[in-house]
Symmetry: C3
Subunit: 423 residues, 3 copies
């Protein structure tokens, strides 16, 4: 029926799609709407790259676990009896039942509820009922997944051979992260939001702040809306006072960092590598301490026993799907997990000092207010974008200069897809 | 897997389907159930023909707009500052966001809520934030859609080159419509009903009254159940008294029309053209004035300051998806919009004189009663039809003589699909 | 896009799937997740085999009917004026409307609600409104489906030529069924449960009791958890006392059967035939009378005016989709109907003596308790299995010895699919 019109089916030729893309413009519609592209995204991106899945604060004791889905994969992240963080496929080796069915919890061994096959936290099969003499339990351990903690942030890689450049990233971002001592934090709150749009629309929305000035009234109390203007000549006149404040705050922040031997300079490594990232410590507006409506701290028990609340935001972007803000008083992590071409889970986790007491050191509503509101607003933007690009009249438009990081995300994504085609 | 059975996938060969159709019988199942046929319907029918989308009464002032979806297209219908009705694609030229998200409203300019790209009501891009010097706003106006008002009924055409025979239809139906002065009406009520069936089942149901006698007790108080009997010998004996009333009422109506220089004769132009229609003024049963349980007027403030409430129903059928009844005291319009192979929106709009006062000149429940009930009944018929034709045991049966207009609709539809294949 | 990864689309090659299966192991993922396999299951299994659809107790009087869906087929099971049970396609021969829309009821004639086409309970078209002279009503009866009652259990076959080996099965199972006189029963309760898993996972779950010991605390009050151990050496030590009780009860039961001339021996005919089944009378644990928490009777009015409540369970498995337990005091039937690759209806029906009085002879909650709980538990197991096998990490594991009947089901299923490919 392709003689009549370009139906979605006509778009399943990924090579054709890639050839058709115009540099500096948004992606073509099928990248956001096609089931075939979605499947390819899972296999070529999510099943190959390192993916942020949890904080160590969620699994502090041996036997603590979380489960989550990456595409059709179900992943167990568990702390072993030896204190190591491991990841396992959440699929029983008997007849395939999902083994752990809670989103989080604590176990001695990992027991499948169907026929009581019992594995230790390494995945080794311990018991499996009555079996034929030829049955070798060593052949039926839970399948292992590569896992790695980076300063308390747990990444997994579903590929048999993980990308080698992750090590380089770890080396370079670790000095920015460790000062916050995330291993001494606890989870104050976690929020799962299902947005009705493709995961790449969620990511593109995150990689620019062009929409912040009007779209995020709570966030721009502290987040400078000039963020993303690579060319300062582009900053519109009405934002020049904000930019002047930014420069003053940035100078102050750099001084504070140097006094404490904390790195702050921007590193941006996006194109040309699998483990792509951007990291920088930047100042906050207002009182300059935290993501609140006036910028003052949300928790008076500072992370890492810092001697000042004015450490701005240590912000890390990791491709394909996560970002992080580490402040003096708390940290907040985000991971984006595709559910369907037009449905995406965004998980947000707020961490505070392990000794901070709710109601005493921090008020939960105040702590989560800004990003709770911002996430909800972004969810609406993403749903409108998904609706719009689904029209046959949609034609990808050009990125503005202050969307250069969106362009960077798209370039990186297209590199992954091109690489997958030539493998 | 086609060696096992005819799966729905086996039906995506439209040419084969068309060849297989038996004249005078209902359509084969895939026409109602296949996603491929649905996509073809949108591109070959809804994106090529003129489609009724709104009444001018819904957008009386400059800046007034409605939005609605035709397949995956989202359409803005807006009255410009110059008073002209225009239609625009509801897709931002930046990154594709849906621009207007309300179903109706009023705007000065059309502003995308994502990054504040601002368009005038012509679609011209006025502002787009900070852009590179090479950015030419003239290249990024909202895309235009052909729009045309016919006596207050707004049609759009998504094709670049609209069908030429629409002009002929407009010339011939306008004299039937203009006496009702729809430009001097207001919307009393609008109802959106989602029926769980294919849009063609909704249309086929509309094009016959074989099911009215038992299916629509409220409607047949005024709508003669003999409608659709092209051959009078076919009228069953129990309906002969109704037919005798029809003939008397028709004679009286024709006299009233001649006295007022209003056309009433049937014109039926279905096969062999794209812009196909049927129009006729016919009498109502009971008190003969309006669609109410006893046939008396629902609004005592007559349209166009008519000097009599006894003007029957001026009924227009337009292919592919709309019908209209213009009475002396009110008008009611229907548009059928496909949502999925098995889901269809039916939008019904009741218009009354612009000066009619609710609660004084008309009671809203009385005005909407008959078609509200009739729509709900039809929704059930359509859902049962969709369920039935989805069975592999379904075999299209023959149309009865009083279903000749259903046969006409089907013939017209098949002409469109055949034409699309040969284009 | 198959160059990137095995997408579900890559699995639609049924022949390849069959070739890839490893004997003695669970089925590969696409058998549970693919829409193509699902469609093939309907056409190659459900539209070819005899399928249990209802008990005669549900349609005791002429005109009584039930409707139910087998895949996309809708089936009417009706008792004719002559007392015979018949099955008809629930699709009007006019324009395909579903004719009977209730799940059960009683009719004089079968009248389509759309245009009043009227059929008798044989399916013959009696009236069809005004038709052209060439219209021959004899050509437009409701299409017939083969139907057969086996001791009060109604089976239908959608194929034009039903499998011939059904007759052999009927001959062999009838002596086990008739002593219970199901024609003298009434429906005490019926429960429809929609499980979120493939129909084969529902069946596989039914064909083993490996999961009963921990999974069904109410059922194992009476159902020996040693069921399914074909090799007695395999029975784990902790179950040996239960096995000893089983052997004693079995000896007692066999004595009771011989005294009453009732057959009890196992017949297992699975591989190598279409109409495959397993039948056996086995003892119950506890009080040994019925499926209750202590094993005592749930209805004191025994079926068939039995002189003892201790007749164990006469259990019949029928491929592809049903099982039955006939006890002294009641009977319970199960039929499994696929709705989608990951959604399945399980209908459970409890029958008691036609003269048993609710609240006097039996308490409804007690009667339905054990299987209501067991069904709900099984529904959870099936949903976890469906979730698990959907992971790309799923690899079919080996069946344990006490799952030999699951292996038998899978073998029989694969024979059907192989046969379909070579037809």
């Amino acid at each position: 029926m392709t003689t009549i019109a370009e139906t979605p089916a006509a778009t399943s030729d990924l090579a054709g799609l890639l050839a058709q893309h115009r540099d500096g413009c948004a992606l073509e519609a099928p990248f956001y709407t096609s089931r075939d592209v979605f499947d390819a995204d899972i296999s070529a991106v999510f099943a190959r790259c390192w993916i942020f899945v949890a904080t160590e604060a969620e699994i502090r004791e041996p036997g603590d676990f979380v489960t989550l889905d990456i595409g059709r994969y179900s992943v167990i992240v568990v702390r072993g009896d030896d204190g190591q963080v491991r990841a396992l496929h959440n699929v029983c080796r008997h007849r395939g039942s999902r083994v752990l069915t809670d989103a989080s919890g604590s176990v001695g061994n990992i027991v499948c509820g169907y026929h009581q096959w019992t594995y230790d936290t390494d995945g080794k099969l311990l018991h499996a009922g009555s079996q034929a003499p030829s049955f070798d339990p060593n052949c039926f351990g839970l399948k292992r997944i590569h896992a790695r903690s980076v300063g308390g942030l747990v990444f997994v890689c579903l590929a048999e051979e993980p990308p080698e450049d992750f090590e380089d990233m770890v080396q370079r971002v670790t000095p920015y992260i460790t000062p916050h001592q995330l291993e001494r934090t606890k989870v104050a709150a976690q929020e799962d939001l299902i947005e009705t749009g493709n995961w790449k629309l969620v990511m593109e929305n995150n990689r620019e702040c062009y929409h912040c000035e009007n779209g995020h009234p709570e966030l721009v109390c502290t987040f400078f809306p000039t963020w993303g203007y690579s060319d300062l000549d582009q900053i519109p006149e009405r934002l020049l006072p904000a930019h002047a404040r930014y420069l003053r705050s940035q100078a102050e922040l750099e001084r504070a960092c140097r006094e404490r031997d904390m790195p702050y300079a921007e590193i941006e490594e996006i194109s040309g590598r699998v483990s792509a990232f951007r990291i920088q410590r930047e100042p906050l507006d207002g009182a300059g301490e935290s993501y609140t409506r006036d910028g003052s701290s949300a928790s008076r028990k500072l992370l890492a026993d810092f001697d000042t609340p004015r450490l701005g935001r240590m912000s890390l972007h990791h491709q394909p799907n996560s970002w992080f803000h580490l402040l003096a008083d708390h940290a907040v992590t985000f991971t984006v997990l595709p559910l369907a071409p037009d449905r995406t889970l965004v998980r947000t986790t707020w961490l505070v000092h392990e000794d901070a007491v709710e109601g005493v050191d921090y008020d939960l509503a105040t702590l989560t207010d800004v990003w709770h509101q911002t996430n909800a607003q972004d969810g609406i933007f993403v749903s409108r974008a998904q609706a719009g690009v689904s029209s046959p009249a949609y034609e990808p438009g050009p990125y503005a200069p202050n969307e250069y990081q969106v362009a960077g995300f798209v370039t990186w994504y297209l590199e992954r897809m091109t690489e997958a085609l030539t493998r």
